[in-house]
Subunit: 461 residues, 2 copies
């Protein structure tokens, strides 16, 4: 292979060697279920994920015909642990606890994933239980009411975490009315109003054979895996003759550059101000993604990064400070975070913005570029020691990218990034509309200068 | 080996095979530095830790001759990243960032550890830089002032995290005046008053050759490691002829059963109440430690555990609920945590206490006991796939336990635990003085019933 392999829906069997001697195989079953495995020599454990390409962004806004379904993706994720036709919630919990496995799920903006990490010999059990949860959950009405309380507590926990609050507001501020701007878990109001019927409909509509992607990494034999999965699905309540194409929920596109909200202040009696500053970023398939990785490494990842040096090392203004660049199918963000004292928050916001502008104007050094390459190579190699990371890489390849990129190819692309690429991207980002979010004991006046810079079209003279 | 090996100070060389085919070796260098390595076949990465058996509990209270040194252990930990005679802070950061390594430190109550995880070929670099930091940091006065600000922000961040606040208060409540009851980071007041001289003295007194323990796990050759470490230490400013015995800072003993504070309420305008309820537990070397592991697994670890089932699954009262049992040289705790709505906090506290009493009265089932064995075996096997876990196990063996226990031996001890052992330990714990800590929008009256139970000697009729 050349290190990158396309994953077309029309191809039922694919097999290739990836960097580091792992073997990747992909099968599309007659029912439309997609199965990807990565066998890693020497591995004694295995991580298995059941994915569906539906996330909070795919929920519907309220219309005349129906109420909003915000939060239903995450609500459903909880309910899949609450019992099937043949297993109670306790049975499911015991299956994994009894073998010391890790077992959980995550709802994201563009996907939901149920996963387990177990010792190699437990893979058949993990596949069977996850398949049962995925295909045959009952969504029992009593369990539904009980879980409503659990989810409200989960949202309250997030509401008490100032960094979580700032992060939710930041997505809203940068992306505005875009569906990716909404919080993943919905709001407490939406959860209080959620009905079992709406969540059931969401389950039936989105969890069909052609929507399911199973990815497994570690100690796995692909043929055995496929046989086990077929058996588990056959005994489920699923109609496996349904072979519709996967629902096309969205198509890759360019990020909307709608002007976000320049300033959001959430006043709270905290000791710190949680500060986020940023702009719309790149979509997941943008050809500049490798440049963004390099830019983010140099700018705000690690103790030697510019943000860390300027804000923490030289001035002692923050303990935690970094940048980040999440990417989705048709939008992305570039953000900078710092937690700092209220009296310093205006100053820190200006410093962070000035650092991005300095990068846009003067670019990076050859040394920084070389270091970023080493940093990304080493960190990736360490991360790929873990079967969790490989399982997720397969899911991302199938659901988001449409191609599998191995480590050698990823690093080859990184190595092609030039100083000029980074400077050009930084200039592009710095010219986009800035949004600033602050959560803490502070009011808007603290950010007059920062917002003045951030929204140059507004005359505040 | 029989699965457990003593680590006596008088023995300069030890070597044995551990479960799972790893090879453990230990050398005591002529200077008194102790080096332990675990070579794991097939590993491509390595984690290295530089340990010293001094933590926040070893700091001094204020006396006529000197001010309190609270927080100085953690302050020193920060300063070891800030430059040596031959490396600036940026040089240190670049060393690890340029190879994508993980690099950090942790200050605990009974130890401090500086560690790095890197690809195998970077081990010599990691040993050299960590040795330089450990032996030759300058504690530059300007850097000291800068870092004071960073640490104050770190404490503020923790102060804004209600679970962190509850946890600190819980240790104080259960352990009272015991040095283990103090917070690790000191207080903002202590950090504002800290002087470079006091931290320097702490450094000189506690970071001597005989205090240093180096543990390495993963892709490591012991002889090469020892040679690299010797070379790094020889070029440092250390006087390697100092071969005093390690400072005996504390001796294993039984946990003090001083009556803790029954009720601590920290009123905050949060959405949730963060609730901790517990009692003094077992010391790290207690022969009932395996019983405690089994008890904790059954009672509050995992989705099938009793606490999870009672509080979350059946009643939907919390999202996060679990138990924990930290153990130190001469004290320990057994605690239960839940985050819940203020209106339910009294009820949840009573439920958690009632569950412990039910365990004390009726014990566990044979099924639960068998499951706990499987849970601990599987979770340990998964954890030991990571060289971080093995590096920490070596440190704990040398600094806390005085013996290395491999996985087979640990599981043999677990398998010996009986239903009666668990019930007896639960009865012992349930009879100890309870402490309850609540952080949230609540006042003491909510816990009248729970505290009445928790402090039966107080007549509140």
């Amino acid at each position: 292979m050349n290190g990158a392999v396309d994953l077309p829906l029309g191809t039922s069997e694919l097999s290739f060697q990836a960097a580091g001697d792992s073997r990747v195989r992909r099968s599309i079953l007659p029912s439309g279920v997609r199965v990807l495995s990565e066998q890693v020599p020497g591995s004694r454990s295995v991580t298995v994920g059941f994915w569906v390409a539906v996330g909070s962004r795919d929920e519907q806004r309220a219309e005349a015909a129906h109420p909003a379904t915000y939060g239903s993706t995450h609500f459903l994720e909880h309910l899949l642990f609450k019992g099937t036709a043949t297993r109670t919630a306790l049975d499911i919990a015991i299956s994994f606890d009894a073998v010391g496995g890790e077992h959980n799920a995550m709802t994201a903006k563009e996907y939901t994933c149920y996963y387990a990490k177990v010792q190699d010999r437990e893979l058949p059990m993990a596949v069977e239980v996850l398949a049962d949860m995925f295909t045959s959950s009952l969504l029992d009405p009593d369990e539904f009411e009980n879980e409503r309380g659990v989810i409200l507590e989960e949202l309250s926990m997030a509401g008490d975490d100032p960094a979580d609050v700032a992060n939710e507001r930041f997505f809203e501020a940068v992306l505005g009315e875009h569906p990716l701007g909404r919080p993943i878990g919905g709001s407490p109001e939406a959860i209080r109003l959620a009905t079992r019927d709406a969540v059931w409909e969401h389950y039936r509509a989105n969890y069909r054979p052609s929507d399911l992607v199973v990815t497994v990494a570690g100690a796995v034999d692909h043929d055995v895996l496929v046989a086990e999965l077929e058996r588990a699905l056959t005994t489920s309540g699923w109609d496996l003759s349904v072979t519709d194409a996967p629902v096309e929920r969205r198509s890759p596109g360019s990020s909307p550059l709608a002007v976000g909200r320049p300033l959001t202040v959430v006043e709270r009696p905290n000791e710190q101000v949680n500060l986020l500053l940023g702009v719309p970023g790149l979509v997941a398939t943008d050809e500049r993604r490798s440049t963004m990785s390099v830019l983010n490494a140099i700018f705000g990842s690690g103790m030697s990064s510019r943000l860390f040096q300027q804000v923490r090392e030289r001035r002692g203004l923050a303990y935690s400070v970094y940048s980040f660049a999440p990417a989705y199918s048709d939008a992305g963000l570039f953000g900078m975070y710092a937690g700092c004292a209220p009296a310093k928050a205006g100053n820190v916001a200006e410093l962070m913005r000035a650092e991005l502008e300095r990068l846009a104007e003067h670019g990076v050094t050859a040394d920084e570029l070389a270091r970023a390459g080493g940093q990304l190579a080493g960190a990736s190699a360490l991360a790929l020691e873990d079967s969790d990371t490989r399982m997720s890489r397969l899911g991302r390849a199938e659901l988001t990218l449409g191609e599998f990129v191995d480590l050698d190819e990823a690093l080859r692309r990184i190595a092609l990034v030039t100083e000029d690429d980074v400077r050009t991207l930084a200039a592009d980002l710095a010219a986009r509309p800035f949004s600033l979010v602050a959560v803490g004991a502070i009011d808007e006046s603290a950010f007059r200068t920062a917002v003045d810079q951030a929204a140059p079209s507004i005359d505040v003279a």
